[in-house]
């Protein structure tokens, strides 16, 4: 026996099935419209400032374009030229060298400082601020600072090394030492990573350490079996972000070696990929070629990040997931 559902007070009896579907569709359309309306500022911003330049640069990469005259379609010629340009390979080599050394060093230093801060007690907030402050320095200023601190003749770094009887190298002028110098200088901005890792460390439940201690685990065992797994998402985030930043490195090296004060002596040891891209675009006005370079970099970053994501499935532990 079926019992008719009484209509809710104030509502008419339910419409027949096709009408109900139409009403539902109308409501869905209204909802979609409202959602799009509320999202429209972001959508417009995204289309104008991200999607459009992205698509347009993809098109430009297939043209010969000097910013002034109409783009002239050349197909894949820019990409073919890229493969024959020795400077592209030099720039890629420099960039990979920088990234491969800078990222692990950055992570090691950030993690060490975070571990120290984690034990600093009440003074930790002061040191947190101190470590983060350099991050606020504009990159152009960091580039100038690099030239001063790392000057081979009388820079502070070599002066300090001299106190220990070490003759420091010519960090800013010797091609063999330019990249190591820039890598060391990049640690200037390690503060942001320290803050992230410190937050992750402070979120590791104390009970885990207690259990580990009860089971007889020492410091190293606790570090490798408790601390590292628990902060692995934060570590992974820092590795990915710094890898991308490393592959796109530009500001400090450009200021120090290719900027206004260095218009003639640009040390090619510091010619990173984005610097060469910038030169092609705004010095030689080869905007099509530069766009092709940008897309090659995009693909490289995509591949590197994809590999990192694949590896992360095996080594990154997210709370709430079962054991791997």
């Amino acid at each position: 026996m079926t019992v008719a559902t009484p209509a809710a007070p104030g509502l008419s009896a339910p419409a027949p099935a096709p009408d109900r579907r139409r009403a539902r569709r109308r409501a869905r359309r209204r909802n979609l419209f409202s959602a799009l309306l509320f999202l429209s500022p972001w959508i417009i911003g995204f289309v104008v400032f991200t999607a459009w330049p992205l698509i347009y640069s993809a098109y430009l990469s297939l043209t010969d374009y000097d910013v002034i005259n109409d783009p002239n379609y050349v197909g894949l010629q820019n990409y073919r030229d890229l493969l024959q340009d020795p400077k592209v390979f030099q720039a890629i080599g420099n960039t990979i060298f920088f990234t491969v050394l800078q990222v692990p060093l950055h992570v090691i230093v950030a993690l060490s400082l975070a571990l120290l801060l984690n034990r600093a007690g009440r003074s930790s907030s002061f040191f947190r601020t101190m470590f983060f402050l350099p991050k606020m320095t504009p990159p152009v200023a960091v580039g100038i600072l690099f030239l001063l601190l790392f000057n081979g003749q009388n820079g502070l770094i070599n002066t300090v090394l001299g106190w220990f009887g070490i003759t420091g190298p010519s960090w800013t002028t010797d091609p063999a030492w330019v990249k190591p110098g820039l890598i060391l200088m990049s640690l200037w901005t390690v503060g942001a990573s320290v803050i992230i890792l410190l937050a992750a460390l402070q979120n590791v439940p104390e009970e885990l350490y207690e259990s580990a201690r009860i089971d007889g685990a020492g410091f190293w065992r606790q570090s490798f079996s408790v601390t590292l797994p628990m902060i692995s998402p934060a570590l992974f985030f820092i590795i990915v972000v710094n890898t991308i930043a490393g592959l796109q490195t530009f500001d400090e090296a450009y200021t120090a070696f290719f900027g206004a004060g260095n218009t003639t002596y640009g040390n090619d040891a510091a010619l990173f990929y984005v610097i060469y891209l910038f030169q092609q675009a705004f010095t030689f006005l080869h905007m099509g070629y530069a766009s092709a370079m940008a897309w090659v970099l995009f693909v490289i970053i995509m591949i590197v990040t994809a590999v990192q994501l694949l590896v992360s499935r095996r080594v990154v532990y997210y709370e709430g997931e079962g054991p791997k």
Partner: protein, 464 residues
């Protein structure tokens, strides 16, 4: 809903793709055929000036005069700061360029080849600008394919600057370091150089590489590029010889790396400059540095001469600025008159007087201005005030150098050419290549760039 979203996305992508293929504003074959240049006609509207900062008395006194010449009908707006190529090209591409730009003369060729600036033949004729009054090297630098694209302003030349105290102590004369005898320079360099505990403490001679390769090549009788701007000559044996010698100057002091690190650590614009602190024997340097030295270290033991070629004749590698009218300038007539007024003898006279007043107030001598206008230079040379020795000699030598200048001719690939040349020099300085190999490689790079750029220019802005 999914269909609606798909339709929206598809529509957006289609629209973007369609516009992507036809939105650039081209200016190929730029001209100002609609402009009516006439020195007698009144002007009106706005004149936006990009790349010029009217910050000192030399600029402001001339601007006042130029504004008067334009008349009350023209509102001059300065877009201050050095010319930002990105900003300028974006403005041109978007169809809203400034009315006039103030650019480095070595940028004129590239900008002209791309149609970013217009030839000034009509402007020169209409406003009655006498191009013969300009320093020939300066006019050459703004002339591409027989057409003048800029009105030159200022001229930069090099002098030999030396620390007389160090020269005397080493038993070296000024003639030994003025470039007329390269063996003598090398010998003087060795005598002047001092090291302290394995560290350089006195730079004997600085051949100022890589920027002065054109100067040393010319001193050796070679031009880096043919007069018509079409043929690179970087692998000329005389250029190789010049580079080899200029780099050997650094090698004799422990290598460029050591010299540059020491050079970079100096207080170049302050009291602790290399000459005042007796840590540099001699170097060729642009003439504006005379003023710096006179300002910050008037008692420095200086000695000055011109830079000389191997025959002993004075030479100088000229550079400077120029006024150019962008394609699509909304007020080319006002732009043209502005350029004419700013570079006129009258304007330079006003500038010299303003500078004399300022220097007198500071109790300092007026050391002259190199204007790029030969007539104005002659006039101003007669206005200089004595600052005693060695500064009077410096001024005299500056004018001598100004009368013996050369410049790299304008070409449509000047940025690529210059970069190829500098890369070659840098690779030799860094010990990564031998002069001959580096210059051979640079020759190919530079020639390829020139060939492409000229072909494009002949092809109306399209790559062949």
């Amino acid at each position: 809903m999914r269909r609606t979203a798909r339709a929206l996305l598809g529509g957006a992508l289609a629209a973007l793709t369609l516009t992507a293929t036809g939105c650039a504003v081209g200016t190929g074959g730029a001209n100002d055929s609609n402009a009516q240049y006439d020195s007698a006609s009144p002007l009106s509207g706005t004149l936006s000036v990009m790349g010029f900062s009217g910050v000192d008395e030399v600029a402001t006194s001339r601007m006042d005069l130029a504004k008067k010449e334009l008349g009350d009908g023209v509102d001059v707006k300065l877009i201050e700061g050095e010319l930002d190529l990105q900003q300028f090209l974006s403005a041109v591409a978007s169809g809203k360029p400034p009315d006039i730009v103030y650019a480095d003369r070595n940028q004129i060729g590239s900008l002209a080849a791309r149609g970013a600036i217009v030839p000034l033949d009509s402007c020169i004729e209409g406003e009655g600008i006498d191009t013969n009054q300009f320093v020939p090297a300066a006019i050459d630098q703004v002339t591409l394919d027989g057409k003048v694209y800029g009105i030159p302003e200022f001229n930069t030349v090099q002098l030999t600057m030396a620390n007389s105290q160090l020269l005397d102590a080493a038993g070296v004369s000024l003639d030994d370091v003025n470039g007329s005898d390269w063996d003598a320079v090398s010998a003087a360099n060795k005598k002047l150089t001092k090291s302290d505990g394995g560290k350089l403490s006195v730079i004997g001679y600085d051949s100022k590489m890589p920027e002065f390769l054109p100067l040393w090549a010319k001193a050796n009788g070679a031009d880096l590029i043919s007069q018509d701007g079409k043929k690179a000559q970087l692998d000329d044996p005389k250029v190789v010889e010049a580079l080899t010698w200029a780099v050997s100057i650094y090698d004799d002091q422990g290598g460029f790396s050591a010299v540059k690190a020491y050079r970079d650590s100096a207080d170049f614009f302050g009291e602790g400059n290399q000459f005042a602190t007796n840590v540099l024997g001699a170097m060729p340097m642009e003439q504006w540095y005379v003023n710096v030295l006179n300002d910050v270290s008037p008692t420095a033991p200086m000695a000055f001469d011109t830079v000389r070629d191997k025959k002993g004749d004075t030479i100088a590698y000229a550079s400077g600025s120029a006024w150019a009218i962008p394609a699509g300038s909304a007020n080319p007539e006002a732009a043209c008159r502005w350029a004419k007024s700013m570079t006129s003898v009258k304007a330079w006279e006003a500038a010299a007087n303003a500078r004399i007043d300022a220097r007198t107030k500071d109790g300092k001598p007026f050391t002259g201005i190199l204007t790029g206008n030969a007539d104005a230079d002659t006039m101003i040379q007669g206005m200089v005030t004595s600052g005693g020795e060695p500064w009077d000699t410096a001024v005299k030598k500056m004018y001598e150098a100004n009368n013996n200048t050369f410049a790299l001719p304008a070409n449509p690939a000047d940025a690529e050419f210059t970069t190829a040349m500098q890369d070659a020099v840098n690779s030799v300085l860094n010990g990564q290549a031998k002069p001959e190999d580096a210059l051979k490689k640079a020759q190919k790079t530079a020639q390829d760039a020139l060939d492409k750029a000229w072909a494009k220019l002949d092809n109306g802005g399209k790559s062949s």
